[in-house]
């Protein structure tokens, strides 16, 4: 290493010795450049620098290392500086002998034996329904988006649009997107499909809530009928969340439309399942079993539902909270459930539903905040989109979304994720390093 105090008195002998070292270094450099010498176990010491040629193993070529703090070089005498430059030159030349040790990336080979069931949403004419488009989700035998070699997920996720049968408080961003159609569920559904590309429509029959409007099941049937007429995508029929009333509504709805492959949202353990499941079993409807963030209860409700309804007509909803509001519970519940399913737990081998509308429950999604945090009209849809993406990575299959921008971005992400993983311009990846970017 270099000495810290510069030598004040340096006699002729020492100076001469230094000079000889410098000339030696220059010669070594020249020789190395021409490839006429190889050095082994050579150590040359001078005041401000040290060059060490260390031989490691017999196969390895010498790697010289110049160890000199830059300050020492700055303060050094011209002669020493020159030597430092020579040393660097030697090093650069000598370094060419260190080659990249090439290895291949050993791809992951996880072992799973379980399979998530495939579930169909909607029924086509051949199947007795009137849907022009149907959706199949599930069928996974590997965790989502790990790109295990030789595995391609059988079905991509699908995105439905939320419609409410009665005016409820909706964020401004949603009002901006649908305007007056919010007063008319049929029109709302039509805009979802025709303008915003929703792949299914989720009609939430909140008017049937006994503590709200208490609309009779007959009215609910009329609403569902009108929507089935207006759009030809699968329809997800949501209740009000009142366990007694939902049983009545679902019974009437499946009676009225036994062959449309409706999806019922949702069944839970507070309901008298025996009063509704036998009716669902008779038709071709699918159910969403709701078990908020609780895998034990998810197994319970699934086991119970199996008594009437075939496994391939059950979707699981483990619930999700918007970012900042319990997202991690839903995310981890989904990850655990899917792993358990793939490891062979048949009770959890169901595709996941995500009620992304919950994202709007986050205050940051709808509240007017200090201008630094941006307009709520951006924050809202972004919150819904990001919450949905988190669920996507946990393996979510079907989404109920409120805002068209979420549907648009989720569809783009789906297209990207299902494309062959091969960037088109890998050499441009580092462009960000050296480009001036707009500062907003």
């Amino acid at each position: 290493m270099s000495s810290k105090e510069p030598k004040r008195d340096r006699d002729d002998v020492k100076a001469r010795r230094e000079a000889s070292i410098y000339s030696l270094l220059a010669k070594i450099s020249e020789a190395l450049e021409k490839g006429v010498v190889e050095l082994y176990n050579v150590e040359i010491e001078a005041d401000e620098l040290e060059i060490r040629f260390a031989t490691q193993t017999s196969q390895q070529l010498p790697i010289p290392i110049v160890v000199t703090p830059p300050k020492a070089v700055e303060e050094a005498k011209p002669g020493v500086k020159a030597a430092y430059e020579v040393a660097k030159a030697v090093e650069v030349v000598a370094k060419k002998v260190v080659e990249l040790s090439k290895i291949a990336f050993e791809e992951p080979k996880p072992q799973f034996s379980g399979r998530v069931v495939e579930v169909k949403l909607g029924a086509s004419r051949e199947e007795g329904g009137t849907r022009e488009r149907t959706i199949v989700v599930g069928g996974h035998t590997m965790p989502a988006y790990y790109y295990i070699a030789g595995y391609r997920p059988p079905h991509p996720p699908a995105f439905g649009g939320d419609v409410f049968d009665i005016k409820i408080g909706l964020p401004r961003a949603v009002k901006l997107a649908f305007g007056d159609a919010l007063d008319n569920p049929v029109e709302w559904a039509r805009i979802w499909v025709e303008k915003y590309g929703a792949e299914a429509v989720d009609i939430h029959l909140v008017s049937t809530d006994p503590t709200f409007k208490d609309a009779p099941p007959e009215e609910a049937v009329r609403t569902v009928d009108a929507i089935l007429q207006a759009v030809k995508v699968p329809i997800v029929v949501g209740g009000s969340g009142n366990p007694e009333k939902d049983v009545k509504v679902f019974r009437r709805v499946v009676d009225a439309f036994p062959s449309e492959g409706l999806v019922l949202n949702s069944l839970n353990l507070d309901m008298k399942l025996e009063e509704v499941c036998p009716y669902i079993a008779k038709v071709n409807a699918t159910v969403i079993n709701f078990s908020p963030m609780d895998l034990d209860k998810a197994e319970q409700i699934n086991r119970k539902t199996y008594e009437w309804i075939p496994r391939n007509r059950i979707i699981l909803d483990l619930n999700i909270g918007g970012i900042g509001y319990g997202t991690e519970y839903g995310f981890t519940a989904m990850e655990r459930a899917r792993l358990s399913a793939l490891l062979g737990n048949e009770l959890l081998q169901h595709p996941f539903n995500v009620g992304a509308a919950n994202a709007w429950g986050a205050r940051e999604a709808w509240m007017t905040m200090d201008p630094y945090w941006g307009p709520k009209e951006i924050r809202g849809p972004l919150w819904e989109t990001l919450t949905s993406l988190i669920c996507l990575l946990a393996g979510a299959d079907y989404y109920m979304l409120v805002h068209p921008l979420s549907v648009k971005v989720m569809k783009a992400v789906r297209e990207y994720l299902f494309s062959e993983p091969k960037p088109s311009d890998p050499e441009k990846a580092l462009d960000w390093l050296s480009k001036a970017l707009p500062v907003i």
Binding site: E91, I323, W383, I390, S419, K422, P423, L437
Partner: protein, 454 residues
């Protein structure tokens, strides 16, 4: 034994037991234990004179297996073509970023300085301006070794310990030499080529002897790009944690900033996609994230999701149930009922305090779940509310028998009345309305009316 359990669950460090470290006879066991407890993903340390940021140090793939360590650091960029006052302004915005959430202050962690000019002097100038005006650790971004060297001469490690970004297939020899000379961590990048990435890792770690690396497999969007990025991050972390493959066992760097050169058009769209990439890669194992947008709406969901992702999955973020005071409540003050989810509790409390009300806050044990989820999951029930009333002896604190429950719990108002025999008023949907709501509904006449009705 207790220590061993804490050690195994990583709540304690081997170093917490001095004899094993100090005494010669334990030397071998100490080394063995240390090696055993080392995370499969190395921990890399970035430093400024005032702040330390640790990245990596991960043990598991899934957060339910064990709490994730070292929350992903978020770095925002400045570049060396910027005027001094722009740099200073941007740095102070990065430093000043703060959002209060569950009683925590969510902040940004580092500054990435990019060399746009490719001029060592210009870069050194920018780096010294940042260092003078910031307390955050730095990332020096350039593939030109001379540029990086110039900046390190200014920063003078170990005073500062920046991450240098990055070694590539073309410059790895020079970058490795610099990383070694200054003893700083080195980023390695091989966009779109995992074979090259691990080859560089092998060469730099084994042949060149570097210990602290961080890996960037490239950050792409669009068809072929996003799928590659998610694949690369997933494969790297899977290989590190499941197969303990040492060449994958380093922190992962995500650069959502790269959307700014991959996309054109409305900057709002670019920012949107930067947010998308940041959230996806934070979820898929990124340990440090370099971004360009400094807009609140892009960063807010990132810092909030990070907080959640890195909480202990075994312990919900909850507060003890019971009765709290807001302001100076009396025996005629209203009683607000809420859950013991830390976030719900702290929001209700801060909203009620902001509204300057005097009230009682009855915190029900919902096992750390928020109101809507607790209602749906049967954790916020008539019985639980009744239980809490009893255990807090609420009837001795007030003269009335009226509860105000959250609007989102309207569905259980009936069962709460049945189970508790108290009158229930359904309050506002959001606690920010508490002040106004009480003004309208908690008047002497109305309370009297309710009491007489009961």
């Amino acid at each position: 034994m207790a220590f061993a359990v804490r050690l195994a669950s990583l709540e304690a460090k081997v170093e917490d037991c001095p004899p094993i470290v100090e005494e010669e006879k334990y030397r071998e066991s100490y080394e063995k234990l240390r090696a055993l407890l080392l995370p499969p993903v190395k921990e890399v340390v970035l430093k400024s004179p005032k702040r330390v940021v640790k990245i990596g140090g991960k043990y598991v793939l899934y957060r339910h297996e064990m709490r994730y360590h070292n929350p992903a650091a978020i770095a925002i960029d400045v570049d060396d073509s910027m005027e001094r006052d722009i740099i200073v302004k941007r740095v102070s915005a990065i430093e000043g970023f703060e959002y209060e959430y569950v009683g925590q202050k969510l902040k940004l962690d580092a500054i990435a300085i990019r060399s746009v000019t490719n001029d060592p002097k210009q870069f050194a100038r920018a780096v010294s301006i940042v260092a003078e005006n910031s307390s955050l650790p730095l990332i020096l971004c350039s593939v030109n070794p001379a540029v990086i060297e110039a900046a390190l001469n200014v920063l003078n490690p170990p005073h500062h310990r920046p991450l240098i970004y990055a070694a590539t297939k073309d410059n790895w020899r020079e970058m490795a030499e610099i990383a070694k000379r200054f003893d700083v961590p080195l980023a390695v990048t091989a966009p779109g080529d995992l074979d090259l990435l691990v080859s560089l890792v092998k060469t730099l770690s084994e042949d060149m002897g570097l210990k602290e690396l961080a890996l960037d497999p490239g950050c792409f969007t669009g068809p072929g790009g996003l799928s590659y990025t998610i694949k690369a991050f997933s494969w790297l972390r899977y290989k590190a944690t499941n197969d303990l493959w040492k060449y994958a066992g380093y922190p992962l760097i995500a650069t959502p900033i790269s959307v700014w050169t991959q996309m054109s058009g409305d900057p709002k769209d670019v920012m949107w996609w930067e947010a998308v990439l940041a959230t996806m890669l934070m979820t898929r194992y990124a340990d440090i994230i370099i971004m360009h947008s400094l807009d609140g709406w892009v960063l807010l969901p990132q810092v909030m999701w990070r907080f959640q992702l890195y909480t202990d999955p075994r312990k919900p973020v909850s507060v003890p149930p019971g009765l709290r005071e807001i302001g100076k409540p009396s025996e005629t003050s209203p009683i607000l009922v809420t859950t013991n989810y830390a976030l719900t509790y702290s929001i209700v409390l801060s909203d009620a305090e902001k509204a300057k009300v005097n009230a009682w806050l009855l915190v029900v044990d919902t096992e750390g779940l928020a109101v809507d989820v607790a209602v749906a999951g049967r954790k916020f029930t008539g019985d639980r509310v009744a239980e809490t009333i009893k255990s807090t002896e609420l009837d001795k604190k007030v003269k009335h028998k009226i509860l105000i429950i959250p609007g989102k719990a309207a569905r259980v108002s009936g069962e709460i009345e049945d189970a508790s025999k108290w009158r229930v008023l359904v309050g506002p949907m959001d606690s920010s309305e508490i002040g106004k709501w009480l003004e309208r509904n908690w008047t002497q006449e109305k309370v009297k009316e309710l009491m007489e009705g009961a």
